[in-house]
Amino acid sequence: MEETLVVQNVKKTIGKKEIIKGLSFSLKKGEVFGFLGPNGAGKTTTIRMLVGLIKPTSGKIFVCGYDLQKQFTKAIQHIGCIVENPELYPYLSGWENLEHFARMLPSISTTRIQEVVELVGLQNRIHDLVRTYSLGMRQRLGIAQALLGKPTVLILDEPTNGLDPVGIREMRQFIRTLAEQEQLTVLVSSHLLSEIQLMCDRVAIMSKGEIIRIDTVEHLLKEQARTYWNVHPIHIAKQILKNETTVLGEKDDFIVTVYESNEVIARCNARLIEAGVSVSSIERKLPTLEDLFIELTGGETID
């Protein structure tokens, strides 16, 4: 598959502090890529470098084969983006805002503007001043603006920020549609695992300016999922489970083991009952954001 965005060993030092410590990854056509990390991990800083707002201290970025530093206009033409909040001109209407940005792109027709407005479902309010928009509407207008130039790579920094549950679901479906039908590459950053889990194909987990892992969502979750056994007496159960699967430890009244398939769990259950252990619940839990981070980063705090 075609690679649309390639990042090679990008670093950024601000003052004396190294904020991004060497990132490398590449994104393919039609893929939704998630950027997951706690506050201050460097997601926004990375995105700013990808769209040319700040210069990397070292490293290279290629968009559709064009070097972002050397062939800025050619490279950036293939990128649509929202960095942090969707800030538009509050004293212009939504439509005027779109016209404003259309004038900065080579040949965008009125029909194209109409198209993106309908795509984000803002037809009813598009001629009102942006000042009167809700955050969700601004977010949509921001997306419309990003899609205006028919980009190949769409970069969204926390796109569901400020949306209600329905809006979040719509946004997720919207992003999936763009990737699947229009074959866009979408890069989204977030600190919500649930969100990334539902819409991304691959995820990079960032912490303190480094990518700790890049993997498909399935892999990551499988690896981090756990089975919780509420059993009595615990010491006997533990002995039995150890023979069948890997016991990770005890938490409150639970025994924690790795994620297992249905057959293994059923077999374990049968063994436990045979041995006279009372089993009150067996639960498989996907990791929460907290667990995942604590696991992967060793419980870092923002500094």
Binding site: R48, V51, G52, L53, I54, K55, F72, T73, K74, I76, Q77, I79, C81, V83, E84, N85, E87, L88, Y89, P90, Y91, L92, E96, H100, F101, R103, M104, L105, P106, Q145, G149
Partner: protein, 326 residues
């Protein structure tokens, strides 16, 4: 590029900046017109309305007498002759030199606003051209278009020049239109004295000659436009450097006001003449008033201003194209 400039002008217009400025000018002009009208009325009460012709005739006779007296220098003689020519014109054309027409009011207005009022108006526009995009976050959208950064800044600079032209133009039109209601619209051809130069304590009158008022006005408005551009460019630079429009305005305001104060007290601090803010009163050179510091001439002041503007422009473009945007 035209598209970019169109965008910038659209934003300025939609922020209603130009409209507010035109309104301020209109209010101020009306105010000054009224003040001027009152002043003319008091003078008229003092010397009577019909009297001005006889008074002017008396003045002409005085000048002639002085011309004929012995022991005056060639230079002085020449100056008196020009004076005589001017007075004769007033008399022949039935013009009361004490009662201004609208063009005379325009002249006074621009001479008094070139140092502070006009620069302030220009500052209001130029101060938030770039800083408002930075503080509003919209700069991120501007700089992620397939347009080079210097082009974006250039479009903003052109928009600044266009707005400055609009301001100077509206000052001219409004001061003419509004004051004309009271003073009448005539007086374009009134001959005025110019070409004085001041050397030390002496008024040098060798270069003095008469020019019609419309030419005089053209020169003065040209100089006012130049001053506005310089102030606009300096404000523009601050607007690039600072995120906060209020800070930009504060610094410019301090500079302009300190200029007005300094002008009246720096005669012994010679190197102050390289500061841009004491060089703003370019119209004084035309009307022959003493400059704040010895040795300042029109071309000196214009060079100083031009250098300040050029440096500001270079800094603006360098910083804007190079810097990281957060």
């Amino acid at each position: 590029m035209i598209n970019l400039v169109y965008n910038e002008m659209l934003k300025i217009v939609r922020k209603k900046r130009l409209f507010i400025i035109a309104a301020i000018v209109a209010v101020l002009v009306s105010l000054f017109t009224y003040a001027q009208f009152k002043q003319v009325e008091t003078i008229r009460e003092r010397i009577g309305t019909t009297d001005w012709r006889t008074q002017l005739q008396q003045q002409i006779i005085d000048t002639q007498n002085r011309l004929n007296s012995t022991g005056i220098s060639e230079e002085w003689k020449k100056f008196l002759k020009i004076r005589l020519q001017q007075q004769q014109y007033y008399l022949d054309n039935d013009i009361n030199p004490m009662a201004p027409g609208a063009p005379t009011f325009m002249r006074m207005f621009i001479e008094n606003s070139i140092e502070l009022f006009l620069p302030l108006l220009v500052m209001v526009i130029a101060a938030d051209l770039v800083s408002s995009e930075a503080s509003g976050g919209t700069i991120k959208l501007l700089l992620t278009r397939p347009v080079k950064r210097w082009k974006i800044l250039m479009s903003k600079y052109i928009a600044m020049i266009l707005s400055t032209s609009f301001i100077v133009f509206s000052v001219a039109v409004l001061s003419y239109a509004i004051s004309g209601i009271v003073f009448g619209y005539g007086g374009w051809n009134l001959p005025l004295l110019t070409g004085f130069s001041i050397q030390g304590e002496e008024l040098n009158t060798t270069g003095v000659h008469l020019i019609p008022q419309w030419k005089y006005l053209l020169i003065e408005f040209g100089l006012a436009f130049f001053v506005s551009l310089v102030v606009g460019t300096l404000t523009f630079m601050l607007s690039v450097l600072l995120r906060s429009t209020a800070a930009v305005m504060g610094i410019m305001l301090a500079a302009l006001i300190s200029g007005a104060i300094l002008s009246s007290m720096v005669s012994s601090w010679e190197s102050a003449k390289y500061l841009f803010m004491v060089n703003l009163r370019l119209t004084s050179y035309v009307s022959g008033m003493a400059p704040p510091i010895d040795g300042m001439t029109l071309s000196f002041s214009m060079t100083v201003l031009a250098i300040w503007a050029l440096v500001a422009l270079i800094i603006s473009f360098y910083v804007f194209t190079k810097r990281d945007v957060y």
